[in-house]
Symmetry: C2
Subunit: 355 residues, 2 copies
Amino acid sequence: MAWEGVIKTYFDYLPVSEKTPIITLKEGNTPLVPADRLARHINKGLKIFLKYEGLNPTGSFKDRGMTMAISKAIEEGSCAVMCASTGNTSASAAAYSARSGLKCFVLIPHKSIALGKLSQALIHGADVLAVQGNFDDTLKVVRYITSNYPVTLVNSINPNRIEGQKTGAFEIVDVLGKAPDYHAIPVGNAGNITAYWKGYREYHEAGKISSLPRMIGFQAAGSAPIVLGKVVEDPKTIATAIKIGNPASWESAEAAARDSGGMIQMVTDEEIIEAYKILAQTEGVFVEPASAASVAGVIKYAKESYFDDSKGKTVVCVLTGHGLKDPDRAIQTVGNPEVIENDPMKVVERLGLKK
Amino acid sequence: MAWEGVIKTYFDYLPVSEKTPIITLKEGNTPLVPADRLARHINKGLKIFLKYEGLNPTGSFKDRGMTMAISKAIEEGSCAVMCASTGNTSASAAAYSARSGLKCFVLIPHKSIALGKLSQALIHGADVLAVQGNFDDTLKVVRYITSNYPVTLVNSINPNRIEGQKTGAFEIVDVLGKAPDYHAIPVGNAGNITAYWKGYREYHEAGKISSLPRMIGFQAAGSAPIVLGKVVEDPKTIATAIKIGNPASWESAEAAARDSGGMIQMVTDEEIIEAYKILAQTEGVFVEPASAASVAGVIKYAKESYFDDSKGKTVVCVLTGHGLKDPDRAIQTVGNPEVIENDPMKVVERLGLKK
């Protein structure tokens, strides 16, 4: 059976009707990749799966919410949408707007988004402005404009976004046949942890699962307002996708962690980069740095005995965006390749090959 | 049902057995995206679908063949693999090697591969050398070494690669319920057109389809050896993935075009960039430039009356790699964003918004 995108697949769970014009790029249906080598590295007997959201059409989980937000904007007669973005939201908004013919305005924090993401908003024909401020400043501008002008907000404050994103939880359950024991996820603007928790609860209420996962969210240490319990005025982290000092879904993220018996903690940039390399080099999975926060968190808390009584338990780590979103970070992490003469024997010698 | 990757899904059609250790990132199962706005633009009454191969794990179609090549290399007791690459093959080889624990040697033509692809080979831990020559020179070095040293060649000369890649044809048929009338595809080293044609023929022999598509392949004009009927010593094109002057699968590509009643033609870089922008701005689908060659060819030959008697016919365009593979090209094509003060009214004014 052909996959028809998240709205058609989970129609009965979403605020849509037969009148909703469905704008889709066949998002969702992303692989749940077993991570046996990572599990052995962690050595706690966990069964680890990676929900590889980088394989959505624009390379991040944002497409799940954007198919909803754009479809609903059109149903409601909107002619233009706007978002503030660290890059993934704008890539997705620009792509779905292009597909639907909607005008799309994108505001990004100047010099703070990864190259791949910038290229996406631009090539999809959005009207892109780089605001001299950080993400939180930029979101303020967008909130003001969308409250006062006939432009639809498509940041995750838009509830249709959360509705679409919750389908990630449905897919995990549909593949595993049950809820995982732990659900690890990066936390930036905090919409995604909110969405997954909503998805799990709805499947629980519908009788599809008999248990709920512990939601364990991870912020970057230089950008960890929820962990610190206060707004971070000048957030810093190499994980640009979660470089957010005042998350829009702060309270619902705290509720998800609390109500599920989970936690929201933080990991350093060094821990993020370490997890980023482990994923690429032992699992063959390339993610953007922010995505590695979920895995970094699991590695870190395994060392701190968090999983000591969890042998055989299932952990799903959400990997929010593809590594190709931020190619510079990869090259910076491992260095440029060596240049060599066009001579087979020079190559043989350099690689130390023996007959 | 969870997707298990191309080997498990098409096990009976592939040279594998229960003894084959399957190394998979759950590649394949990529969306077949309807392109109605593109079809209206072309205005010949065609039904156009985009096989969005950029949504494979490493962002290109190469993963279909690489899951086979790496699995078979391990089955055969190999300890190391090597490839020459314009970037996509090396990204895939590096990722699957990392997942399996195989040593991976990558040779790339110096200064000739896109940023995203370079970042992939590096981050997955391959031993990467940049050879002072073009792709064809680099492939010669790799052929020499893999013929004389205990290193498995994983370029598409390796028949397991073609076997894996033919599964793209199976998926198209499984979704459409029939073969398309036309199958449009970029042609570089010519392994992919060879593989798709093999796939369609096998499904035909198995009684899964009653007709075969016309295979229409497109080379870049500055790198069109098959069209010109001679090796191009110094190929030139912005479509780096198909910048190949002496294709390894030359004869089988010609056979595919001839036997299917199709053709291999060429499109200019300008036509490729035009198609690249149309895909991004009207369909919301971002591809690397080489991928746009298939669509550029369809647009061009529609103008030249090729499809005049094809109203209602189905055209599948294979989009071989994700646009994030080459972010620089997108930014070069449309320019950097305008910088603006952190002031809502300045933004309102610049965007020309009215209450």
